[in-house]
Symmetry: C2
Subunit: 591 residues, 2 copies
């Protein structure tokens, strides 16, 4: 019979510690320390208290905890002496059925890993869905993590321990994240569609109006109908639009959604999470036969990534009346124009202007998105409140010095283009670090035709600078460009710097951001605010109506645009719960 939070909150400390026995391997002290935070408002609250207890305990205690895990993912994976707990977890991952090659490979990895890190490899083998990882994925993860820097890998071990604890807690409390599992499964199903050339290799690529893309639209449409949306349509640019009516025919709408296209060999959750989370919340309303004083319009945007055509944010742009007619004549790599692709998909180009939404018919726009960054996962916090979508400026630059012989040109007679760039890179790092939320990156650095024995005469490089407000970005850009000039002058270099892109910041609307904060707090999840460094469809809607975003933690350092992009069904459940809470709150406000 499952535990309840009430029982845990009411129990004496020794009783409560006993209730939480085994959640953290051989470490009842973690439960004991966390209990000082009682009463727990939610499982999320309890989990975070335990995370904090371990954090506060310091590096030695953390290492001891990691080392208390030999059997879980180490030798025990392939031995007969599994603990009952571990046996259960291992068998869910199928690890008890290793063939001899897999067995040998795991043994070798264990040996290498221990040599390199001095602690055992820890992996939550039940995986982000709780149903177990394939053996091949476990082995791949093992091999990949072997290459991590030591301190990073220690953090990764702890994160896996917290994930194991989360799964064990769910078992103890009988708290299956059923909505999260559904959302997880919807992503899996949608990810079965991939463009030719990628599908064959198991890679996910869905670009604008390919067969796979149109299949995705079809699947999302059908999913929306199954969830109980009243109207579902694919619009003139391929957006999938589902409307769940409000209680009154003239009710305003809450607009939400995100994109279903992907980058090449991308992740499964980028964009799509922002479609499926609201769909799950609407399904709950529909199941309960509930209508709100406002309608809910969920849009699966057809295009955000600008992959097949250079037309980033095409889907959300259409909703605010941005559609560049010259895009229609762009050709993809096979020479197919966008116009042909749209005709082929049965889309009516002439109707695009009609997609523009009327501001007064909407309450605002919210968007759920996977973080695509490491912040939440490193803090062990499942949800994050977006304060602003950072403004951005990008430059493509070249530093020009004089190429000369590396042996014969004395140090004080050089005009080394790469050294000027090196100085600028380090200045950028230091300058961006001064401002909260700013980032600056030199992503491309190249000495063209460089030789080991030639002082670089040229160095091509790029600048990417972002900040939560335009003013903060502009100050950053001005300082970096001024430094570029001063370095060039001091070193006798010349340079070019071409603005490649500039986008305004989209600060979250305070009232809408506050609604997300209230939702997250109601779940017992710690409140964490962060800017979004990446651009999102919300940037476009920002130009028409108030907007605010919710981030969901990503695993694997928050890696994105990569097949390793991942999150858990537990975190997805929290996102659905937060969305539902936001609806409830909005209903109360509009009652």
């Amino acid at each position: 019979m499952a535990l309840t939070l009430d029982q845990l909150n009411a129990a004496s400390v020794p009783e409560a510690v006993a209730m939480l026995d085994g959640v953290y391997e051989h470490s009842p002290w973690i439960a004991e320390a966390a209990l000082s935070e009682r009463p727990f408002r939610s499982l999320a609250h309890l989990k975070h208290a335990m995370v904090q207890a371990l954090q506060a305990a310091g590096a030695d205690a953390q290492l001891a905890l990691i080392r208390a895990h030999p059997e879980l993912a180490g030798k025990a994976m392939v031995s007969q002496s599994l603990t009952a707990e571990s046996t259960n977890e291992q068998s869910k991952a199928g690890l008890t059925d290793c063939n001899p090659e897999e067995f040998a490979r795991i043994q070798q990895l264990n040996a290498d890993y221990n040599t390199r890190f001095g602690f055992p490899f820890i992996l939550a083998v039940r995986g982000p869905r709780g149903t177990g990882l394939p053996r091949s994925e476990i082995i791949d993860t093992f091999a990949r993590r072997l290459a991590n820097p030591v301190d990073f890998e220690r953090g990764e071990a702890l994160r896996n321990i917290h994930r194991i604890a989360e799964i064990r807690l769910a078992d103890k409390f009988g708290a299956e994240p059923t909505l999260g599992h559904d959302v997880w499964d919807w992503h899996e199903r949608l990810a079965q569609h991939s463009d030719p050339g990628y599908a064959e290799q198991g890679q996910l690529t869905v670009t604008y109006l390919t067969d796979a893309h149109r299949a995705c639209a079809q699947r999302i449409s059908r999913g929306m109908r199954e969830c109980g949306f009243d109207e579902v349509e694919i619009d003139a640019v391929g957006n999938v639009v589902g409307r769940y009516h409000g209680s009154a025919p003239d009710a305003k709408y809450l607009l939400t959604g995100s994109h279903y296209d992907t980058v090449r060999n991308g992740g499964k959750y980028d964009g799509r999470l922002g479609i499926f989370v609201p769909m799950a919340a609407v399904r709950e309303l529909h199941r309960q036969g509930k209508r709100l004083p406002f309608g809910i319009e969920v849009v699966g945007f057809a295009e955000e990534e600008g992959q097949r055509y250079k037309a980033t944010f095409l889907g959300s742009g259409a909703l605010i009346g941005h559609f560049d007619q010259t895009w229609l004549e762009q050709q993809d790599q096979d020479g197919v124009t966008m116009r042909q692709a749209m005709q082929n998909a049965g889309l009516c180009v002439d109707d695009i202007p009609k997609l523009r939404r009327e501001r007064e018919r909407y309450l605002g726009f919210v968007e759920v998105h996977i973080e695509q960054g490491p912040v939440l996962t490193e803090l062990d916090i499942p949800l994050g409140i977006v304060t602003s979508i950072n403004g951005c400026a990008r430059y493509v630059c070249e530093m020009i010095g004089m190429a000369s012989h590396a042996g014969t040109t004395p140090m004080d007679r050089r005009r080394d283009a790469a050294l000027g760039v090196a100085e600028l890179a380090l200045y950028m790092e230091q300058r961006a670090s001064q401002d909260p939320g700013s980032v600056a990156t030199m992503g491309m650095v190249h000495v063209p035709g460089g030789s080991i024995n030639v002082v670089p005469g040229r160095c091509a490089f790029s600048l990417d600078m972002r900040a939560p407000t335009d003013a903060q970005r502009d100050a950053l850009v001005a300082d970096v460009l001024a430094m570029l000039q001063s370095i060039a002058q001091r070193r006798g270099l010349q340079y070019t710097a071409e603005l490649a892109m500039q986008a305004s910041a989209a600060p979250s609307d305070p009232a809408w951001q506050q609604r997300w904060e209230a939702a997250v707090q109601a779940l017992g999840v710690p409140l964490y605010r962060l800017p979004s460094g990446a651009g999102h469809d919300a940037m476009k809607l920002h130009e028409l109506m108030p907007q605010a975003m919710l981030f969901v933690r990503g695993l694997n350092s928050g890696i994105s645009h990569n097949p390793l992009e991942s999150t858990t069904s537990d975190d997805m459940q929290l996102a659905v719960d937060a969305f539902s809470h936001l609806l409830k709150q909005l209903a109360a406000e509009n009652a």
Copy 2:
């Protein structure tokens, strides 16, 4: 009637200033200041005194001198109002015959140049051979120099003014550098041979045992015979060996020479100068019917650059018994093995071991070489004494961090591989600057697959470190590698660093270096010592016998491995004179 140095030395100051009138445009004060250095031992001495007078006068006086030159290479180039002096120089360069397009182009360049630099374009239009530059070359130089940094171009203007003065002095004193002109012409003639694919584009490329290479050997052989060498042969690896017998049949030999192969699209003087300068000196001996108490063996080494095959220093290596038999099976880019190439050239591979020289038969080895660096030209000094051929160590490296999203990864959570490399590059610059004669270069820097919006996860780079002694090089290498490790540790990066090449320093033999110094001083040329940053055949001979090198100033910042490599026939004359002086001194020692 030509002036003589004796007249100049004996004259009163006003008389002497009048004698030197017009050498520096409208600036008799330069002559006047230089006269305090009387008596002048040579024209070289006078020239250097004038260079120093201008140097001492400071930036304002230098700029005034540059601005005193409007007619020379500015408007006057194409106007009718040329001074008598300029008319003479201009007509030698054919500048008075500009067609309308050239006229318009030069006018545009003059306008652009004046706008950019604020002073007129100065070029010694009579060129390094004194016989005038083609109009197309003048225009190309003009366009190229327009891109120079301002302070560099000011130096280049002054260097051209000194060159103009040198030509005018030669006219006044009737001092044609006839031997220098011959050596110049020999280079021109040899440069007519170039490998297919390059010859068609007017580029000079002579790689091991191509038809062009074999034609060069043939021409050098014939040139040696014409100079009066007693024995001339092409040896088993293609070296051209000329011997001028000593006065006694058992006399020892002075060994000298350099290589006649080139890099791809290389310069005309790299290597070859060290063959032709001794040839000219031997021709003088032969003309005078003179024998020395030692023989002179001049070797044109067949291979130094390692272009067609990876077998650098093949020619000089053979003389010390270094010939790697595995080289024979190396294939060039057309699949031709070195063995086939040698057979095709009629070379007898079996005889290679016999090329090894017996130490006791030689006095030592000297080598004349163009500097391939900017030191002498920037100091306005025509010859340089090499103190050591720098030891070298090269590494091919990679820094490995974690690629992540440039927008979403906060500054303090990055593992930016390129920033670690940037730090190391700046450290190298600072560390190498601490030691006299050391250089350190990061010639290759590349973020593979870098994107404007991705934090670099990898950065490939190279290290090239050189120093006049092995101990100094080793200390430099150790410090740089220690810093690499410390940067990587601090930034959570990993790295690989693979030693790609290591060569020992070859310090000049003190007695032989002293002979070059005496020769240079006897010419009235200021003494300047410098290490050789580049490798030379002398490094190989160093392993068998004492050696010392003489450098000849290169124009165009001493650029090398480039068609712009150049030097003047005046400097070549000085090199022949220095070589002849060294022979004379050695004869006296061995009398």
